[in-house]
């Protein structure tokens, strides 16, 4: 972002960066920075809160009045992440013949479909489509059971994309099931990794890949840092 600020200013466009990493912005001689200590992924701070978002934009536009730069101002309101899992019930076990994660993913499909119909878009599809989610979990179960990743996936391994799609499928279903106002940052993530069979399967599969000495480039982004 800070590089683009330089590029845009050079082209004659005045910029304000809503920075999320203060030390990075400090080191880059960026013309105008509003440092916003909000959860990462939320540069405007609060979803479904137009008043809060307009407050951030007003503070950003205010920096355009500075006569010279660099200018770096801290937005006065801090938003903290909420680490407690989202309250969202999971479907009961339906088919004991299949892995719990696969069963669970199938049980969430109706909620996922309602979420997509409501929003008109989905974040699932980087590597697999929604129909592929239960099968992708079944593949991860094979890794956990000891099969080598080359046997499961062949030469092309895109576990980062698969992990993204599984998590997106679950989180979109969970937001639909939970209803109400948007959860705090990290609550959907905590729900996924701490409460769902799929989250546990993904974590165990990453451990299995690490033990198989799969390239770190295909495991690092399978989960957030710290999980």
């Amino acid at each position: 972002m800070c590089v683009l600020a330089h590029v845009l200013e050079d082209a004659g466009i005045a910029t304000v960066v809503l920075a999320s990493m203060r030390p990075v912005a400090e080191r880059m001689n960026v013309p105008r920075v509003l440092y916003c200590e909000f959860p990462l992924g939320r540069p405007l701070g609060m979803p479904d809160n137009a008043l809060f978002q307009q407050g951030v934009l007003a503070a950003a536009f205010d920096l355009l009045n500075a006569p010279s730069g660099p200018v770096l101002v801290d937005y006065p309101e801090v938003v903290e992440a909420v680490e407690a899992p989202l309250a969202c019930a999971l479907p009961p076990r339906f088919d004991p013949e299949i892995a719990a994660s696969v069963d669970e993913a199938q049980g969430l499909r109706a909620a996922y479909d309602r979420a997509v119909a409501r929003r008109g878009a989905t974040e699932v599809g980087r590597s697999i489509d929604p129909d592929g989610v239960p099968g992708a979990l079944a593949d991860l179960e094979r890794l956990i059971a000891g099969e080598h990743w080359k046997e499961v996936y062949g030469p092309r391994l895109d576990t980062i994309g698969i992990a993204h799609d599984i998590r997106a499928y679950y989180q979109e279903a969970a937001l639909e099931l939970a209803g109400g106002p948007p959860p705090g940052a990290r609550q959907a993530e905590a729900w996924f990794y701490e409460e769902t069979e799929a989250g546990k399967t993904l974590a165990a599969a990453r451990d299995a890949l690490t033990e198989q000495e799969a390239p770190s480039g295909i495991t690092f982004y399978m989960q957030p840092v710290g999980r």
Partner: protein, 151 residues
């Protein structure tokens, strides 16, 4: 420690390109300015190409009327649920429309820009090639001011 603080600590010493000076564009008064959003969230329409993995230096032009874009940034290390609930928390296009309607800003730009984060440490291609190309497209649309939103 929260995941966000962990990431902020990790990124604090990230190697960054050095800029010895600070460029400074002087915009017209806000009430006459055309404003665009430039984001590194990797947003794109479903009918546009996805961003590829790490180090994709390309960009997507987004029309003013586009909504419910896909969040194509590669990382798993930020909250994505907020964006799913309300795109304005990353891409405040509806907020800009409100500000244009009440006369606070002059106009909402006809097109906006999305890059993807996760760039190589030098960021050279964005700096020298795709960044200037995107800036030229915005200038051609008469953009005076850009709000930059990372994720």
């Amino acid at each position: 420690m929260s995941s966000d603080q962990t990431m902020r600590d990790l990124m604090a010493n990230l190697p960054v390109p050095e800029f010895e000076s600070t460029p400074w564009a002087s915009p017209p008064p806000l009430a006459q300015a055309t404003v665009a959003i430039v984001t590194s969230a990797g947003l794109h329409r479903a009918d546009q190409d996805r961003f590829e993995g790490r180090g994709d230096t390309s960009y997507r032009m987004l029309d003013r009327s586009d909504r419910e874009l896909i969040l194509g940034h590669w990382s798993s290390n930020f909250d994505r649920a907020a964006y799913v609930s309300d795109h304005n928390v990353v891409y405040p296009i509806d907020r800009l429309e409100e500000l244009a309607a009440d006369g606070t800003i002059g106009a909402v730009a006809p097109r906006h820009v999305a890059f993807a984060g996760n760039q190589p440490d030098t960021v050279s291609e964005v700096r020298l090639d795709t960044g200037p190309a995107a800036a030229a497209e915005l200038r051609a649309d008469g953009v005076d001011v850009a709000i930059l939103t990372p994720v």
